[in-house]
């Protein structure tokens, strides 16, 4: 039912979604913490910028990324000097997914952080745990549920990401063609609908598995 190209697409999708989620996590957590705990002015502006990829159609996000990461873009020309190419590579797909899923990740983590009992963090500090120490031993474990939720959301979003990816990474079978791009291609082929459908099913199954895994992790963390 699935062609070898499809299996490649599945592998690529998983690679992109996983890498994008893991890459975005530290920055996502940092920005969520900044938004949740700090009292700096201009928080709304940071939040607005973080939310941009959500507000703009993915195609536009892809186009804006193309403008800045393309060979003539300001970041792109910089990367070019180090021999790093983003356009038409899996890196581009990962970046596209990271950017588009980022607001979801930040929102989730932020909500989690805001609901932590600050007294627990205070207690840890008075027990000699520095800021970073209490971050890793108290704050993160206490918000793991929200972090997991954010990661699941982002992973799922990455699995379905199409608009920005096709612009930034192109639709190159075997190289950057993830599941959504393959589905797109099937739907523009005679009789491709059934194959598109089976790829949809794969997507659904993958996201279910991620969901179940995150629930299981949830439960294990509660037990320990």
């Amino acid at each position: 039912m699935l062609s070898p190209d499809d299996f490649t697409a599945i592998r690529l999708s998983l690679e992109v979604a996983t890498t994008a989620t893991l890459l975005a996590l530290p920055a996502g957590f940092a920005i969520a913490a900044l938004l949740a705990f700090s009292h700096i002015p201009g928080k709304a502006i940071i939040e607005g910028i973080v939310n941009l990829p959500l507000v703009l159609p993915p195609v536009v996000v892809g186009y804006l990324l193309l403008l800045s990461l393309g060979r003539h873009g300001w970041i792109g020309s910089l990367l070019d000097r180090f021999g790093i190419q983003v356009i038409f590579t899996l890196k581009g797909a990962i970046i596209a997914s990271s950017v588009v899923g980022f607001p979801l990740l930040v929102r989730s983590i932020r909500l989690g952080l805001e609901s932590i009992d600050k007294n627990c963090i205070f207690a840890a500090r008075t027990l000699g745990a520095g800021w970073w120490d209490s971050l890793f031993t108290i704050t993160i474990p206490l918000s793991y549920r929200a972090i997991l939720a954010g990661m699941t959301l982002m992973f799922a979003r990455s699995l379905g990401e199409f608009g920005a990816t096709i612009i930034l990474a192109g639709n190159i079978p075997g190289v950057t063609q993830t599941i959504p791009l393959a589905i797109y291609q099937y739907t523009s082929m005679p009789g491709g609908d059934s194959m598109a459908l089976s790829l949809c099913l794969v997507s659904i199954i993958l996201s279910f598995m991620v969901l179940l895994a995150s629930e299981a992790m949830n439960r294990r963390l509660i037990r320990n």
């Binding site: 193309l66 393309g70 356009i87 038409f88 190159i172 075997g174 291609q185 523009s188 082929m189 005679p190």
Partner: protein, 225 residues
Amino acid sequence: NISVAASMTNAFKDIISEFNRQNPATKIQPNFGSSGSLAKQIAQGAPADLFVSANPKWMKYLVDGAMIAPGTDGIFVANSLVFTGTPGSTATDMASLVTLKRIAIGTPQSVPAGQYAKEAMVKAGVWQKLENENKLVMAKDVRQALIYADRGEADGAFVYRTDALLAQKAKILFEVPQALYSPVVYPMAITTGGAKKPQTTALYNFIKSDAGHTILVKYGFKPIE
């Protein structure tokens, strides 16, 4: 790397595998997308060597941007416009379109097929009436217009002959007379980057060869010398 308009996906898959059979050393990565986004990618320095557009406008955009190796751009296939819809529809020619409720076309500003359809309807004198009555549904591409016609959401759609063959339920109701619209042509060109590689030229020539034409004809295109 070659950037190919999505409507030629199948034809080019065949072309590439055939070309690879003859030149096993050459590795070709096709990038399928809408002509506009492909053109923009190339304008931003995407490493595409060959550009196949469904629309001369985007080819011109790149030529103006000096992204195309001089002299390599040219029309290589043609297509034709048909009106497709559920069998048994009242539409039999352009004039009868006014009896329909919904007609799907590609957005004229962005989709070439839509533009040709508009041209034809204007010439046939039905455009103004149809637009005033909000009977036109602008699809984001030909493929979507076809889906509407196929699913029966629209009474019919203007699509290319090559697309109409993909439909499951919808049938070609009538061919749009060629006199009503400018020729539907697909330009192809080697980019400035691709000009440096001999393989690009090899592929370019292969497409224009008889072997290439055979494949294009198989998918409904009409090769042009």
